[in-house]
Amino acid sequence: MATLTIKDLHVRIDDESGHKEILKGVNLTMKTGEIHAIMGPNGTGKSTLSETIMGNPRYKVTSGDILLNGESLLDQPVDARARAGLFLAMQYPAEIMGVTNAEFMRAAINSRRPDDNPISVREFIKQLDQNLALLDMNEAMAERYLNQGFSGGEKKRNEILQLLMIKPSFAILDEIDSGLDIDAMKVVAKGVNSMRGDNFGSLIITHYQRLLDYIEPDVVHVMMGGRIVKSGDAQLAQKLEAEGYAGLRDELGLDIKLTDEN
């Protein structure tokens, strides 16, 4: 069993407009075998949290810690965190010419294995075919250049395909449902559900409760103003759907301005 711990995490982003503190003390512990969901209004730091856990160099941790099985990841670059067991399904995956999807996934798998023991072609193709079938993806997708010219939905499916091939301990899904129609969302959910088990945990970031109808979470967290303000079970998501974020804020007596609020 693996554990991912976020301790009093403060994160800043530096851009043209100066320094902006986005996360203001996030605490979260999750274990493999669990599915957590983070919900929250726009601009509240959900994507910042996922990118910071993964190690995107654009985000600066000013205090707090991120620990995997008790060891801090803060000094580890993104590739080391990935090999340690983290995976981030991104909102906007990069497009890369000249590198096929299949070749990339093999390189990713082999980066976790000793140099003298790469995955056999046969085994790789077997797993690839199974996962393509599970996700209703065309075999030709594997030979296309990485995300090059993919539609929004194809990119999301491709993120889940990589997840299934790489088999991380913890997968963070950053708004995997955005831009997906209901059929595509069901396929994505099927992929994630197929990973469920004692050796896999997931942190699902979403605006809407809808995705959680298909991937039932064990824990739901609500984030507002750069903090987790409430945690609960799957019912919390349904309550939010009914009452909205403003309702919860007022109930908790928080002084936070929501980005999309007039």
């Binding site: 993104v78 590739d79 991104m90 000249g98 990339f104 980066s111 976790r112």
Partner: protein, 426 residues
């Protein structure tokens, strides 16, 4: 006006010509070229200051070694300064392809030599060309007859000679007959570790309707002036795919003249500069004929303290109505001490045309790096994959799978060497 000093005495040159057993016609040409070295201007390549490094170095001497021929699987192979080895494929022979050593061509094909030798890149046009024709000591002439169609590439394998201090000066002349269709796969490398300079000129003449694909993988180590010059008659088409993977300092001068109506040419070139080498590459296509089409695509990568300059020159002359000239030049710099430029030059003297260009000098895309690394790939591997994509446009144009593999492996090796050098420096 003070008279310039010649690089050698005319009497020495005459002796040299005699040692090479050249007929009188060849000697006359050589003598005129020697005269031109005194009067022709130095060629000018924008932003490439080659004078400090591209110097003439080596002795004018005839190779008297009786060394065993260098093994090559190519149909035509040559070590500069030595006789050419010709071993045409059955298909090429059946199609009537012929090839001769340069001296033999002067003896057996004097009319052809008078008509074509030194016509695409004239000796009097500039000093490096003049010096080449004055010093040429080896070469090959290839004729592909009209309407010949080859399904497999004509393979050429040429080596610079760094086994001694003899000046390298090699010439290739290729005549593609009317409506012929074939591809060429040329590999160039260097033997030995001596450092004479080299001058290589290739002239390609495409007669009406000829369609040629010319792929080359250059891995030269000597300081070299490398000229590839082509002229196209009506409706001819020439597609270049050039892998410029040299180790030494190179002044590359690639020039295509679209003389005939409706002729077209595309140049796809990739280059990697490493260590402290200089590579200055000027690719020019000139639209003379009406309704001609030119496209230049050059992508390069620079590591360490190396320099790589890409000039792309698209020139549409007055009267070339309905012509098109496009180009894209991009350079990626992988170290802070790398120097590079991507320099598009469009010269348009006619109104009824289309032309366009794009250029960039930049660093590896950080979003792409982050994405690849987020799946566990190391920084160096991620960087090589991004670069491979960046150079991929030429790779896919190489006609033979094994040659494609050679180029892929060469790119990989150069990048790994460059990354090691950088990682040690940090």
């Amino acid at each position: 006006m003070s008279r310039k000093k010649a690089f050698c005495e005319l009497s020495d040159l005459q002796q040299y010509s005699q040692q090479l057993n050249e007929p009188a016609l060849a000697w006359q040409f050589r003598q005129a070229a020697w005269q031109a070295t005194l009067t022709a201007p130095k060629p000018d390549f924008a932003k490439i200051n080659y004078r400090p490094w591209a110097t003439l170095n080596g002795q004018l001497a005839v190779d008297s070694t009786t060394a065993e021929p260098v093994e090559s699987s190519a149909q035509i192979s040559q070590v500069a300064g030595r006789p050419v080895q010709i071993n045409l494929s059955a298909e090429a022979q059946a199609a009537g392809v012929e090839a001769l050593d340069l001296v033999a061509a002067w003896q057996q094909w004097p009319d052809l030599m008078e008509q074509y030798y030194g016509r695409v890149l004239p000796a009097a046009s500039q000093q490096l060309a003049a010096t080449h024709y004055a010093t040429v000591n080896s070469g090959v002439v290839i004729r592909v007859p009209a309407k010949a169609k080859l399904t497999t590439p004509l393979t050429l394998d040429f080596s610079e000679n760094g086994l001694d201090q003899q000046l390298n000066s090699q010439h290739v002349l290729l005549i593609a007959g009317a409506d012929s269709e074939f591809s060429i796969l040329e590999t160039r490398q260097t033997l030995g570790d001596q450092q004479p300079s080299a001058s290589i000129v290739e002239e390609l003449v495409l007669l009406a309707g000829a369609k040629v694909r010319f792929a080359a993988i250059d891995q030269l180590a000597l300081t070299t002036y490398l000229a590839r010059y082509a002229q196209l008659a009506d409706n001819a088409r020439l597609d270049w795919a050039l892998g410029i993977m040299n180790e030494g300092d190179i002044l590359a001068d690639f020039n295509t003249d679209l003389n005939g109506q409706g002729s077209q040419s595309e140049v796809k070139a990739v280059a990697i500069s490493t260590g402290s080498q200089n590579q200055g590459i000027t690719t020019r296509i000139t639209n003379y004929g009406q309704h001609t089409k030119a496209n230049i695509l050059q992508h390069g990568v620079i590591l360490s303290d190396a320099t790589l300059i890409f000039n792309g020159v698209g020139h549409i002359v007055k009267g070339a109505r309905g012509s098109d000239s496009q180009q894209e030049n991009r350079v990626l710099m992988l170290s802070r001490t790398a120097r590079g430029d991507a320099n598009p030059i469009l010269l348009i003297d006619e109104n009824d045309v289309r032309a366009g260009h794009a250029a960039s000098v930049g660093r590896v895309n950080q979003e792409q790096m982050y994405y690849l690394m987020s799946r566990g790939l190391s920084k160096d591997l991620a960087e090589r994959l991004v670069i491979r994509g960046f150079l991929g446009s030429v790779l896919s144009e190489i006609p033979a799978a094994d040659a494609r593999q050679i180029l892929t492996d060469t790119i990989e090796r150069k990048l790994i060497d460059g990354q090691r050098h950088r990682d040690r420096a940090q």
